[in-house]
């Protein structure tokens, strides 16, 4: 260990001074926030980090803006030391348009790519899988960046952190899991929340290094972190750091914590690295009192200037509501506004007959060839088998490490995709059956879907998620046969497509992969390996938000998507024998939704039925039927209606399954009823 000869300290005095400068900036920020909240100068919810300043102050001396950081709502100290502009930080916390994220994320959702602060989550532990994705992007591109994900000791209990640690170990990702162990999980202590308090020791269980470092001694912490960061930067895989610290404040609010004893608080304050580092700088003669006071005054002035400017900014106005939900502000559905989107031109080149599964594989291959940022990850997608329905067969053989079979860990998969997408890659993540979406719903709807909005478009997530949907084969049961598109459609920020033909599957999937927003490509289990069709060999795109008339008709419009389109087609043939002419619209894209073509068709037929395999109650059909009724009330011969599955889990019994979901016979019966009315 090198020692500075002047001071006998195991650290360069300049570095220690800079560590204190960051501590002073963090301290000034913390004090100004608490004072401002107490005096009523401004209001936002604050999760104080008083006591934890040394961790980012030290890390800031070992990392740069190129290194990625992910942190949590208790992360203002991390943001300050990372270099987020204080004016933009305060403006964001106050919900102002000039905030670093246009006031749309607020204090707990800072994203500032310029400083490397990539994402801040208010969901405990959820940052870890996303940090893996940022680290994956750096690794895939051969960059020497490290990614540091901060979280508290409370997050060591949650599944996302375990999934992330397992994946990081398996892939040797350049990521540091920084557990800021302030010894209290919100309001709950060890051993009430764990019988395994050796957090650093857990890393060995995942096959990588774990170290326990005392951040209350900034010099020792600096030395320890120097070794950790060097190890990770050199490509030796992840490290878990348990940084021992204290939290002086409450979980949320201001002042001292009332959750710990007065004795414990006194001990925490005695060990507080901010005054201790200050005293050390004085004692060793590295800084004079005048120099330290000047540093603190400068920090306070920087903060006060930031607050004054932030208070002068405009509150983020209502005009921003639909901006940054997607790249394109016409995507969010709005009452009375039905954009006309141009249909695709038909490709004229060579075609091949493909199964839908093969068309999906061909789309992925086309994307992998076109853009080096595209990569695939998911369960069992490697060769063999190339996915449970062989939708990625042969691609690992052809593209090697750009096709990544993953652990069975959906949060890790989606988080990795989200992080890599934020870093500018175009991940295609498969989670097998949509029934598994529940396992990773937080990653999908709280993170991938909202990141563009919460970051005020400072970041976005060009991620594609592939899921097998619906049953129809019989015997796959209640946990592998559901049609859960309504869960996804209820989440602003996601685009959802659902092809019914091999041709559309390829064209829609390519559009998804090269879209700038998170897209879900739903793949009907019933058709993947049973439906063949002509598929162009070339790269072609089906624009999102363009429905297609599959069959022209005059008496009723059947609106459907996915495998139910084919049930409607069979029903229409039956009805034609009875002189009932049904027009069939295949939505193809559910969000953005092509209300324009739907309403145009129903204006003509004056009757409409929406058909889907999903549960009818609270299903997408109710939404579409309601809009048709509102828009065309005086035109309709009968109220627009919807037809979906019975309100029961999908049965294991083939007989029940076939009958609980709309089929050609039951669809035809519903149409007859509607025409007779």
């Amino acid at each position: 260990m090198s020692q500075d000869t002047k001071t006998n300290l195991a650290i360069d005095p300049v570095v220690l001074t800079e560590i204190y400068r960051q501590m002073a900036r963090i301290r000034a920020t913390d004090k100004a926030i608490q004072s401002g909240l107490l005096s009523g100068r401004f209001f936002f919810t604050y999760w104080p980090m008083t006591g934890q300043e040394a961790i980012p102050a030290v890390v800031s001396q070992l990392t740069g803006a190129r290194d990625y950081m992910v942190t949590t709502y208790r992360g203002i100290h991390d943001q300050v030391a990372k270099g987020v502009d204080l004016f933009k930080l305060f403006a964001e916390a106050m919900g102002r348009i000039d905030g670093v994220n246009k006031g749309k994320g607020g204090a707990p959702h800072i994203s500032d790519p310029a400083s490397g602060s990539m994402l801040t989550t208010a969901i405990v532990g959820a940052g870890a899988p996303i940090a893996n994705g940022l680290a994956f992007a750096a690794q895939a591109r051969g960059e020497d960046r490290v990614t540091i994900v901060n979280f508290g000791d409370g997050a060591t209990s949650i599944g996302a952190v375990h999934e992330a640690m397992n994946l990081a170990g398996a892939w040797k990702l350049p990521v540091i899991f920084m557990c800021q162990n302030n010894q209290i999980a919100e309001y709950t202590f060890i051993p009430d929340y764990t019988a395994s308090p050796d957090f650093a020791g857990r890393a060995a269980g995942y096959g990588f290094t774990g170290v326990k470092l005392d951040s209350r001694d900034p010099i020792a912490f600096y030395k320890g972190m120097q070794a950790v960061i060097a190890q990770v930067r050199a490509g030796n895989g992840p490290v878990f750091v348990e940084a021992i610290t204290h939290r002086h404040g409450p979980h949320a609010g201001v002042g001292d914590s009332k959750d710990i004893t007065a004795e414990a608080l006194a001990l925490a304050k005695e060990a507080w690295p901010v005054p201790r580092t200050r005293a050390l700088l004085l004692e060793t003669g590295i800084c004079t009192e005048v120099e330290l006071a000047a540093m603190e005054t400068a920090a306070a002035a920087e903060v006060e200037d930031a607050i004054i400017r932030a208070l002068a900014c405009k509150i983020t106005p209502v005009e921003e509501t639909l901006l940054d939900v997607y790249a394109d502000a016409t995507v969010p559905p709005q009452r009375g506004i039905y954009p006309v989107r141009a249909a695709e031109s038909t490709p004229t080149g060579e075609t091949k007959v493909m199964l839908m599964a093969e068309a999906i594989g061909d789309a992925q291959r086309t994307a992998l060839l076109k853009d080096p940022g595209v990569f695939l990850l998911g369960e069992d997608i490697g060769d063999p088998p190339g996915g449970v329905f062989a939708t990625s067969r042969g691609l690992q053989t052809e593209f090697g490490k750009r096709v990544r079979p993953t652990p069975i860990a959906e949060q890790a998969i989606i988080g990795c995709g989200t992080g890599a997408a934020i870093a500018g890659m175009r991940p295609v993540a498969e989670i097998m059956f949509n029934d598994f979406a529940g396992v990773c719903m937080d990653q999908i709807f709280n993170h991938a879907a909202k990141q563009r909005y919460m970051s005020g478009a400072a970041t976005h997530v060009p991620l594609t998620i592939r899921m097998i949907v619906g049953g129809g084969l019989g015997g796959t049961g209640a946990q592998h046969s559901q049609s859960l598109e309504a869960w996804l459609l209820h989440t602003p920020g996601l685009k959802v497509v659902y092809p019914s033909t091999p041709f559309d599957a390829k064209g829609l999937l390519l559009s998804c992969i090269f879209d700038e927003d998170p897209c879900i490509h739903l793949e009907p289990m019933a058709l993947l390996r049973s439906l063949k069709g002509e598929v162009p060999v070339e790269d072609y795109r089906i624009p999102l938000g363009v429905a297609k008339i599959r069959r022209p008709g005059t008496d009723i419009t059947l609106i459907s998507y996915g495998w139910q389109v084919n049930q409607c087609m069979v029903a229409a043939e039956e009805l034609a024998k009875e002189e009932i002419s049904a027009e069939i619209i295949d939505l193809r894209s559910l969000v953005p939704l092509d209300y324009h073509r739907v309403l145009d068709s129903v204006k003509k037929t004056r009757r409409a039925l929406v058909v889907h395999a999903a549960t009818e109650f609270c299903g997408f059909g109710g939404e579409i039927a309601s809009t048709i009724n509102e828009e065309l009330f005086t035109t309709l011969k009968a109220p627009a209606s919807r037809f979906g599955a019975a309100f029961a889990p999908i049965a294991y019994s083939r007989e029940i399954e076939t009958n609980q979901i709309p089929n050609a016979r039951s669809i035809a019966a519903r149409v007859r009823q509607m025409i007779a009315k």
Binding site: S39, G40, R41, F43, V254
Partner: protein, 75 residues
Amino acid sequence: MPDLLIPRLEMSMTEGDLVEWLVADGATVAEGDPIYTLEMAKATQDISAPAAGVLTQIAAKGQTYEVGTLIGKIT
């Protein structure tokens, strides 16, 4: 120099009771000194001075005020 407004210290808070001034009108306070007691729906908290200076009391104790009400100044 700072105005003292009734703060919003709990998410659901719309008003608070100024229970007591802990420092006399016109007295000099140091930053961080407790200056008044605020009662909210869930808790009572002593509010500390955001800055050093002379306290001017504007609002009377023993009454309920809306969040954002000016109750004093430090000059």
